[in-house]
């Protein structure tokens, strides 16, 4: 982990996956940051976790389902209340194709 090669290409690829466009200055800064962070984080390689299953929550969670009944929900007007981009009762989005 500590020896991970971090370069501009990696940072640009990660940014693209996260739908972020970085300036050249940001790319340069994030290359340095990632090197520093990953070097520092590499210590967890040393932790003996043999036989341990990963914990994705801290308490035991129950799978809980509500009765399948029609209940009050957001009106169309409320759902669209916070968008600037709407038309004929729908959200208007950018071109898909």
């Amino acid at each position: 982990m500590g020896n991970m090669k971090v370069d501009k290409e990696l940072i640009k690829n990660v940014a693209s996956l996260a739908r972020l466009e970085l300036t050249e200055a940001e790319v340069k800064k994030f290359v340095e940051d990632f090197k520093e962070i990953l070097k520092s984080f590499s210590v967890i390689e040393k932790v003996d976790t043999k036989g341990l299953e990963g914990a994705f929550h801290s308490i035991e969670l129950k799978n809980r389902l509500r009765d399948d009944l029609v209940e009050e929900s957001l009106s169309q007007e409320e759902a669209l209340a916070n968008t600037e981009h709407k038309k004929d009762g729908y959200f208007k989005g950018p071109k898909a194709i």
Binding site: R19, L20, F41
Partner: protein, 469 residues
């Protein structure tokens, strides 16, 4: 004055709730100009609420001024989690905690400033266009973070008041410590997260901050408990926390986390040791204990897991349905990329990218899965400790509140390492309380008391025992 005494006076008609609300709003506006604790002051709504309480002064919080961290949705009031990408978003519903506060007569006067989406330990990572909150004891220093506005206003105001903060890796106890107030991060699942703009959904917890242990207990009684709108919210019965304020603590066993003291500076440890001596004077049995993995390996574990979740949770912010919009042009990816790149701050970008990286094909096992396994080990160590002890203690933050010019020189990992004492209990989802235990160079020092899952009442008992000592 404690919140409960104030509420009694409101109910008895000794205080005019409308006049009081108007008066405190003026005080808040004045403080806010100087210290930047609130992103929004909901003046009109607060006065309306006060008028309705004047007619029927019922409820556990009748007439009490309350503030909410900006990440908590409040119907009709701009809610942004401190980020420009959510500018203009006015929720059409109340978060469960907000609804419960209103139901009990609490008057919500505004939203508190924070690191953008909770991404920070100093409240300096505020979103684009926001102002950072200033420490109530020294304006050149940090309030702590990420619930910095909640910590600052809780200390600074002269009227009874409780704030709700939110913690993912330490964001309640850290600012509580730097601002010299009580702050309780409850067990994961004790308080509903419905209506909380999430950072990391397996770690986020909402909890109270305020001047008195009893205020914390009172607010916990209001906001805790099952919520059918939130699948991770526990249906365990809620304790009567206020009954544990001032409870007899003699005979309790408290473990002193040695790694927590070793990692803290001399000034902080001295005050925390004094508090332990005070507990011993009350008949508490205190003994050193080692919880090795949490402090040594907690930081990478926490950051790899929390940023992985954050990168997914923040994917929904794309300028279409709410928040900041841009001119609709180009394809989906062009538009989303433009909105996100223009409106997210540097730390938000950094954490989204770190989380995206940690879950990428080829790296997932080495980073994300490894961190999840270390988290399991950390949980086991705490659970083992609670077989022997009722609670554990160590300093809340290892240093005194730093100055902004010192923070400016910190590297990214220095920022992250500031959470070294608080990420452990957050990863384990166990409750932890900051108790103000003294002043050094006129700056507050906090002791963190950590309890087993759903044992907030023990923390309230121990915390209140130290109050004013």
């Amino acid at each position: 004055m404690k919140a409960s005494d104030f509420v009694t006076q409101i109910r008895n008609g000794d205080i005019d709730v409308v006049e009081h609300t108007k008066k405190i709003l003026e005080e808040v506006k004045k403080i806010n100009k100087e210290y930047h604790y609130l992103t929004v002051i909901s003046e009109k709504e607060a006065i309306e609420q006060a008028k309705s309480i004047a007619k029927n002064p019922a409820g556990k919080l009748a007439g009490l001024p309350v503030t909410l961290k900006d990440a908590i949705c409040l119907k009709g009031i701009e809610t942004t989690a401190g980020s420009r990408i959510l500018q203009g978003y006015k929720p059409t519903f109340d978060a469960t905690v907000a609804a419960r506060i209103k139901k009990e007569g609490g008057i919500i006067i505004g939203k508190t400033s924070q690191d953008e989406f909770g991404f920070g330990a100093f409240s300096v990572n505020v979103g684009i266009g926001f102002e950072k909150p200033l420490n109530p004891f020294d304006k050149h220093r940090s309030t702590g973070g990420s619930s910095g506005g909640s910590g600052g206003i809780s200390q600074k105001v002269h009227f009874p008041h409780i704030s709700l903060g939110e913690s993912t890796g330490g964001s309640i106890v850290n600012p509580a410590s730097f601002c010299g107030v009580f702050g309780l991060c409850p067990t994961y699942g004790r308080v509903s997260r419905y209506g909380l703009l999430d950072y990391s959904n397996s770690l986020d917890k909402i909890g109270p901050m305020g001047k008195y242990a009893e205020d914390i207990a009172l607010m916990m009684e209001v906001i805790s408990g099952f919520d059918e709108n939130e699948s991770t919210c526990s249906d365990k019965p809620v304790d009567e926390y206020t009954k544990h304020v001032g409870a007899d603590v003699s005979g309790m066993k408290v473990g002193i986390i040695k790694e927590g003291f070793a990692a803290s500076n001399e000034e902080v440890t001295r005050h925390c040791r004094n508090a332990i001596t005070a507990l011993e004077g009350l008949g508490v049995e205190c003994k050193e204990i080692s919880v090795p993995t949490a402090i040594k390996y907690g930081i990478p574990t926490y950051y790899l897991l929390s940023t992985s979740e954050a990168s997914t949770n923040l994917a929904k912010y794309c300028g279409m349905r709410y928040g900041k919009h841009e001119k609709l042009e180009g394809g989906f990816n062009d538009y989303f990329t433009k909105v996100r790149s223009k409106n997210l701050g540097q730390e938000a970008k950094r954490r989204i990218m770190l989380g995206t990286f940690a879950r990428m094909a080829g790296y997932r096992d080495a980073y994300y899965m490894k961190a999840a396994a270390v988290r399991a080990k950390i949980i086991q160590e705490y659970k083992k400790a609670f077989k022997e002890f009722d609670a554990l203690v160590c300093p809340t933050v290892s240093v005194l509140p730093p100055r902004f010019d010192e923070i400016d020189k910190f590297k990214v990992v220095d920022h992250y390492n500031m959470d070294n004492l608080t990420v452990g209990p957050n990863l384990a989802g166990i409750p932890h309380l900051n108790v103000p235990v003294g002043f050094e160079k006129e700056l507050p020092v906090g002791l963190m008391i950590i309890g087993d899952h759903f044992d907030e009442k023990t923390l309230i008992g121990l915390g209140s025992a130290l109050e004013g000592k």
